[in-house]
Subunit: 138 residues, 2 copies
């Protein structure tokens, strides 16, 4: 099965670092903590920036949070890095045969159920803040 990209977990990692070390969090430094290529970090930082979560200083380097850690939820991060216009976790096959009872109903009926399932997952993500996460580090 294709899993949800590590962009998400790397983004959470990145924001945690910025929260804990407000200054000196350059892309290279974060890459060193995540253990990946700096460009991967810069790409993700760009998404976080676009989502209004961080401010990145070009030239001088470093980043800072634009919201307090207790105001940033995992859902915010999830949304920031999952680049799709519509947030559709499940993909449903299209072009079913409308001459068939199942074919002409399955998309609509399944759509409702899966949207619900996705929704409860996102609600759960929204219940955890960056703050809570960091407080569990030891």
């Amino acid at each position: 099965m294709k899993q949800i990209s590590t962009r998400f977990s790397i983004a959470v990692h990145t924001l945690s670092l910025i929260a804990i070390i407000p200054n000196d969090c350059t892309g290279d430094f974060i890459a060193g903590s995540v253990n990946t290529n700096p460009v991967v970090i810069r790409r993700i930082m760009g998404m976080l920036k676009k989502a209004g979560l961080v401010d990145v200083r070009p030239g001088v380097g470093g980043a800072s949070l634009l919201k307090a850690p207790n105001e940033i939820t995992l859902l915010d991060v999830y949304r920031a890095v999952n680049v799709t216009e519509e947030n559709q976790l499940f993909r449903i096959h299209e072009d079913s045969n409308i001459n068939c009872l199942v074919g002409r109903n399955i998309e609509r009926v399944l759509q409702e159920e899966l949207r619900d399932a996705q929704s409860v997952m996102e609600t759960r993500l929204a219940q955890t803040t960056l703050d809570q996460l960091i407080s569990k580090f030891k």
Copy 2:
């Protein structure tokens, strides 16, 4: 973002057909309703069979449910077609730098949260049966 495969929705479609038309549900017939290649259906049927949800009759053709429609949940189907040993919806980056406070904690802490999020989604899937789904067709 990479979405969850249409195998899932096609599998639900397939089971709905078998439930409604207990006889004569050959792979070609189902493929005609789903509007895809018969081999795609046969592959998915193989997974449903392996999961103990259906009985497929080789030679003569056709399939039948091994459980009542009100005993088959969306979670059962989801599990049947998402071929991975561990059910990990979210992928977390590995090899973080353990010399960093965030690096050595992020995996464990995030793991807990994401497992929870996945869990509530699956619980929601488990609340819908094939029976309920079919009753919404019109």
